[in-house]
C-alpha cells in the first residue's frame, strides 16, 4: 500500500467517494491507464491510496517506482453516484473489504472535516491486523467517540487476545453491526466482487431498501 499526495495547481475539488484516472506514458509513447479511489476528504486536497497488485501494470509503478517530485498525469474527479454528501442526514453504514476502505475513508474524513454529527459505522474486513489500512487513524477516530464506530473483522489471522470478529462478513454479523433498516440508513459497500455481493445481498435480506445501497467493486485484475 502507498498513499500518494498530489500537489495540484488547478484541482477543482472532489466529492467524498469519487475516483481519478491515472495515466502512465512510457518514453516510446506506450500508455496504461487505471482508476484509483480518492482517499482524502475534499477539504484535504488530493491523496490516493494504492494497493500494489503483483500482476498489475500501473500499481507496481505507483508503489515501487514513483518518487517525491515526479509528475503524474491524472484525470478527474470521476463518478457522481458513489458519493456521500454531508448534507445527507441519514445514518451511514460503510462496509469495506481490503483496499475497498479507501473511498470510505474519504467519507469518514469528510464527515470529520465538516464537523458533521451524522452517525456512521464502518465494518471493515481485513485478512490480518497488519493488512488494516489507516489502522492508527481509524483507532484514533474510534477513540474520539464522535459518533463514528469502527468494527473490524480479521478473516485469516488474529493477534493473541483478539476479541473482535474473525470471519468473513455474514448475515449474522450484518444484523449485529449494521443499523436497523427502520432508521433508513444510507449504505456504501466497497471491495472485491464476492465481498460486495455478499454484503449487498445480506443487507437486502435484512430489509434494506436496495436503492439505499451504493456499491463499488474492484475487479481485481491487472490494476
Amino acid at each position: 500500500m502507498k498513499t500518494i499526495a498530489l500537489d495540484l495547481d488547478d484541482w477543482r475539488g472532489h466529492r467524498a467517494g469519487q475516483h481519478v484516472d491515472v495515466r502512465l506514458t512510457a518514453e516510446d509513447g506506450y500508455q496504461a491507464e487505471r482508476s484509483y479511489s480518492i482517499a482524502s476528504a475534499p477539504e484535504q486536497g488530493l491523496e490516493l491510496t494504492v494497493e500494489r497488485l503483483d500482476d498489475g501494470e500501473v500499481s507496481p509503478y505507483l508503489v515501487d517506482e514513483l518518487r517525491n517530485g515526479d509528475g503524474l498525469e491524472i484525470r478527474g474527479p470521476i463518478g457522481g453516484y458513489f458519493v456521500w454528501e454531508a448534507r445527507d442526514m441519514r445514518p451511514v453504514f460503510l462496509a469495506a473489504g481490503g483496499s475497498g476502505v479507501v473511498p470510505l475513508m474519504a467519507i469518514i474524513r469528510h464527515r470529520i472535516a465538516v464537523g458533521s454529527s451524522t452517525p456512521m459505522r464502518l465494518l471493515y474486513s481485513s485478512r490480518s491486523l497488519d493488512d488494516v489500512i489507516y489502522r492508527v487513524e481509524l483507532d484514533q477516530v474510534a477513540a474520539n467517540d464522535n459518533g463514528i464506530e469502527i468494527v473490524h473483522t480479521l478473516t485469516r489471522a488474529q493477534p493473541e487476545g483478539w476479541s473482535g470478529y474473525s470471519r468473513r462478513i455474514d448475515n449474522d454479523m450484518l444484523r449485529e453491526v449494521a443499523w436497523s433498516p427502520s432508521e433508513s440508513p444510507s449504505v456504501f459497500v466497497c471491495g472485491a466482487t464476492r465481498f460486495v455481493e455478499a454484503v449487498a445481498e445480506g443487507l437486502v435480506g435484512l430489509g434494506y431498501d436496495p436503492r439505499s445501497i451504493k456499491t463499488e467493486r474492484y475487479g481485481g485484475t491487472g490494476g
Binding site: T25, Y30, E57, G80, T193, A200, P210, I213, G219, T221
Partner: protein
C-alpha cells in the same frame, strides 16, 4: 499535458494483443470483472417481462415468449469504461431489431430500463442491423445474475455500461435523455474508439 513521460515507466505490454482490437486506454483481461451501482436484483422468471413503450402504447413479452423468439449466437469484443477489454466473448440473444419490429415507431432514441432502477440511453440506429442483442446466455450458460441475468442488453460497439444489466425494456423517445451513468459523469454516447468515457470527452 501532451508529451508527458512517466519517469521510469516501461509498462507490461501484452504481446498477444491483436492489432486493431483493443481501443485506446484499454487493457486486455481474461477475467470478467463485475461492475454495478447497487445490489444484484433477482427477478423470478415468472415475473419477468420485456416491454417496449412507444408513446401511450406498449408491447410486452413474458420470459417464455421472449425465449421463443429467434435468437443468435455472437462472438464479440467488449470494452468497459474502467479500462478492461475482453476479446471473443460468446453470447446468445435476441437481436434488438426483432423486438423493435413489433412496434410502429420511428423515434430516434431509446432509454433501456432495468431492474434496480438502472437506465441507459442509446440512439435507435445503434441497436439495429446486427449491432445489439438482448442476451440471455454467456459462454453457453444462462447469464449469471451478477453479469446481468436473466437478460442484459449487449451493445458491444459502445462502452459496456451501455450493455445494461437486468434489462426489462425500452422506452422509445424523440430526445436523447441521459440514463443513470450518463447523469453521473459518463459520456452520453460512449464510443470506446474515440475514448468517449466521461462528460467533456
Amino acid at each position: 499535458m501532451s508529451g508527458f513521460i512517466s519517469r521510469g515507466f516501461r509498462g507490461r505490454r501484452r504481446e498477444d494483443a491483436p492489432e486493431g482490437r483493443v481501443p485506446p486506454g484499454q487493457y486486455l483481461t481474461d477475467d470478467f470483472p463485475v461492475l454495478s451501482a447497487g445490489p444484484t436484483p433477482h427477478t423470478p422468471l415468472e415475473e419477468w417481462t420485456f416491454e417496449i413503450r412507444s408513446g401511450g402504447a406498449s408491447v410486452s413479452w413474458t420470459w417464455e415468449e421472449f425465449r421463443a423468439l429467434p435468437s443468435e449466437t455472437v462472438t464479440v469484443d467488449i470494452h468497459c469504461v474502467t479500462k478492461w477489454s475482453k476479446l471473443d466473448t460468446v453470447w446468445e440473444g435476441v437481436p434488438v431489431e426483432t423486438l423493435l419490429e413489433r412496434v410502429d415507431d420511428d423515434s430516434p432514441y431509446l432509454l433501456a430500463f432495468c431492474d434496480g432502477g438502472y437506465t441507459t440511453n442509446l440512439p435507435v440506429e445503434d441497436v439495429l442491423d446486427g449491432k445489439a442483442w438482448v442476451a440471455f446466455a454467456y459462454g453457453g450458460e444462462p447469464l449469471d445474475p451478477e453479469h446481468g441475468g436473466p437478460a442484459r442488453l449487449l451493445v458491444p460497439h459502445l462502452y459496456f455500461w451501455k450493455s445494461a444489466k437486468w434489462v426489462r425494456g425500452f422506452e422509445l423517445r424523440n430526445e436523447d435523455e441521459p440514463g443513470f451513468w450518463e447523469q453521473n459523469g459518463y459520456h452520453l454516447y460512449g464510443d470506446p474508439w474515440k475514448e468517449q468515457r466521461y462528460w467533456g470527452d
